[in-house]
Amino acid sequence: MKLVTGVIQPHRLDDVKSALEAAGVRGMTVSEASGYGRQKGHTEVYRGAEYTVDLVPKVRVEVLVDDEDAKAVVDVVVSAAQTGKIGDGKVWVVPVDDVARVRTGEHGVSAL
């Protein structure tokens, strides 16, 4: 099993979610995140005092998938999140030892 994690632009979340649903993904975890890559941050000015805000808002989407689906799910996230501009984010895949469904106690692929 694999964990696919995408950190994307917040305004692409709806498209990514729809694309994942259309691709048959039945569940995901979404959380607010902040960070930067090549994009860096921005400045804000309050009463003449300038603050550098180097972390910008992002959304993290996490999906647990079976091994053979991982590549396809990554591609779905990438194509749905892509705008072609700096700051579009990253998607990565890591191996997962085990998954348990809390409701039933099932383990492994059947818990996905």
Binding site: E44, V45, Y46, R47, G48, A49, E50, Y51
Partner: protein, 427 residues
């Protein structure tokens, strides 16, 4: 004896209520500007000013402001201590003032001014002062700093038309340019210097944590200011209407002035700038609301907005932590409004052919107010510093003064969890 004027009395009761609302409004205005870990303490500084001054005012506040004169500086606190002789005449009827308003209504109206003035100062020392120390300061400063100034300007003292400068021209302070704003502004500067900077000032980000609260506070201040300025006509008449319109016009112009400076200097017109411009305009028109025309109120307000927008950055250059810009807003616009009367008063101003006498006397009362407030505040602030100090511990300042001083936090976050269930409700 003057007959009771029910219309005027009704308006003055409403005005007093409006001015009282300004202090909770100020609590929101200031509260939104501090960090989330100290918003409750910031708001409590305003709320507690109501509590302390509300009690003191009826004991000796009124008497020290409007009681029998002592050397032109203050009223005798024992003259009308506890409002004795300030409510009823010898026959047991309510005293009625020259406008047909009962004297006790005037007491209430004036009490609310004392409350807001001392609350204004709290913005200069946000996030770092022991709560009990603040309560002591409020009591001392309102007694030694506010009541004498109110007496000097409005109670027939040194800075009134009856004082030594009255022979030049009658000083004009319609609703508190000297008594309230210069007074609070100078006190804020002195306290910021004596109390010292917040830990991390100038190096760590100290962004306003909730700008909608700031906007709401500014709106309530503006609304309450109609009682402050139009109520200072002491009756419901054309002068009250003039003050109302001038208040609105100057405030609008000041908002535009502040936003213009931000757009040109910083690139963006901000909501904080709009709210700040509103307050700068309200401050500047306060002394002038009854003596300028609505056309004169436009430059008066616009210049206040520009001056204060430029002044708020000074603390970083000069290195004092006037946290929420009591100096930049209240002192600067208070001085400007007080002096601008010398140019723009329709009867005596320089631009209206009145010569320089009004201008001269306005400068004099402003300077005397600055010196008086500076000396009194320095004495109180240094005495408190020697007696036990102002500051909470550095650890508590970093962790957040709300939790350390009040045992509360303003906002629940999901990751805090609930910890444990309530053990028991203490009787």
């Amino acid at each position: 004896m003057v007959e009771l004027d029910t219309g005027a009395t009704a308006w003055m009761l409403v005005s007093a209520s409006l001015v009282l609302l300004m202090t909770p409004g100020l609590a929101l205005f200031y509260g939104g500007m501090v960090r989330g870990k100290s918003v409750l303490n910031m708001m409590m500084m305003s709320f507690s000013a109501i509590a302390v001054v509300g009690v003191i005012y009826v004991l000796w506040g009124w008497s020290m402001s409007y009681g029998s004169d002592v050397g032109g500086i203050f009223g005798n606190p024992f003259d009308q201590f506890g409002l004795s002789g300030a409510i009823y005449d010898s026959a047991g009827n309510f005293l009625i003032d020259d406008y047909g308003v009962p004297g006790i209504v005037g007491v209430g109206f004036q009490a609310t001014f004392a409350v807001i003035t001392v609350a204004l100062i709290s913005g200069a020392i946000a996030d770092r002062v022991k709560f009990g120390t603040w309560l002591v300061f409020v009591a001392l400063w309102v007694t030694l700093g506010y009541f004498p100034m109110a007496h000097m300007v409005w109670g027939g003292g040194l800075l009134s038309g009856d004082g030594p400068f009255g022979s030049i021209a009658t000083p004009i302070d319609f609703a508190g340019g000297t008594v309230v704003h210069i007074n609070a502004g100078v006190a804020g500067l002195v306290l910021a210097l004596v109390v010292g900077k917040r830990k991390g000032f100038g190096t760590e980000p100290m962004r306003p944590h909730n700008l909608p609260l700031v906007m709401l506070g500014a709106a309530l201040l503006w609304f309450g200011w109609f009682g402050f300025n139009a109520g200072s006509a002491f009756t419901a008449d054309g002068n009250a209407g003039l003050a109302w319109v001038n208040t609105t016009v100057a405030t609008s112009a000041a908002m535009l002035g502040w936003l213009l400076v931000e757009r040109l200097r910083d690139g963006h017109a901000t909501s904080l700038g709009a709210a700040s411009g509103v307050v700068a305009g309200l401050v500047a028109i306060t002394p002038a609301a009854g003596s300028v025309s609505p056309i004169g109120a436009i430059p008066l307000g616009a210049i206040a907005g520009v001056l204060s927008a430029l002044a708020v950055g000074l603390k970083y250059k000069l290195g004092y932590d006037d946290s929420l810009d009591v100096v930049g807003v209240h002192l600067v616009s208070g001085l400007w409004g007080t002096v601008a009367i010398g140019f723009l008063a329709t009867e005596t101003g320089l631009f209206y052919g009145g010569g320089a006498a009004q201008l001269a006397v306005q400068v004099i009362i402003a300077v005397v107010a600055v010196i008086f407030s500076g000396v009194v505040t320095a004495v109180i602030a240094l005495a408190i510093k020697a007696a036990g100090g102002w500051r909470v511990t550095p650890e508590n300042e970093v962790a957040g003064i709300d939790l350390a001083v009040h045992g509360e936090t303003a906002y629940e976050t999901i990751t805090q969890g609930s910890g444990s269930v309530i053990r028991e409700v203490r009787a």
